[in-house]
Symmetry: C2
């Protein structure tokens, strides 16, 4: 596995995190999976250790659970 | 601001996250700050919105709070 996988569920906070991650790591290095739309990918995400979204599964197999200090503006978005 | 800043406090989980982040983003693109050793940087971190460590302040000004599903092995490390 050489790509990272970004799991999300389409919430505004997820989308904001996704933009940052894609900018930082490079879009070509990240597979983006919307677990709300691709429910068949949930088992693999769980198996990899994803407990919440947004989360980034790194090429080394670690799961980084990402979490903004969500602003009110985000929650309203 | 063009660099990301990775704030941590030296715990094993932080170090593991740091290695992943540096690999993913590139060490030259990240300033690493140990808030346990550099306590004078805590106010700026708080001002940026850092509520916990490890956290990554992105060039766009968003704070990604990173959180492994910490394993027992990590906690023992």
């Amino acid at each position: 596995m050489s790509k990272s996988i970004f799991y999300h569920a389409g919430c505004p906070v997820c989308v904001s995190a996704e933009e940052d991650i894609l900018n930082l790591i490079g879009a070509s290095n990240v597979e983006v999976i919307h677990l709300g739309e691709s429910k068949e990918r949930i088992p693999e995400a769980e198996k990899a250790g994803v407990n919440s979204v947004p989360a980034l599964l790194t090429p080394s197999g670690n799961v980084l659970h990402l979490n903004f200090g969500a602003s009110i503006a985000d929650l309203k978005g």
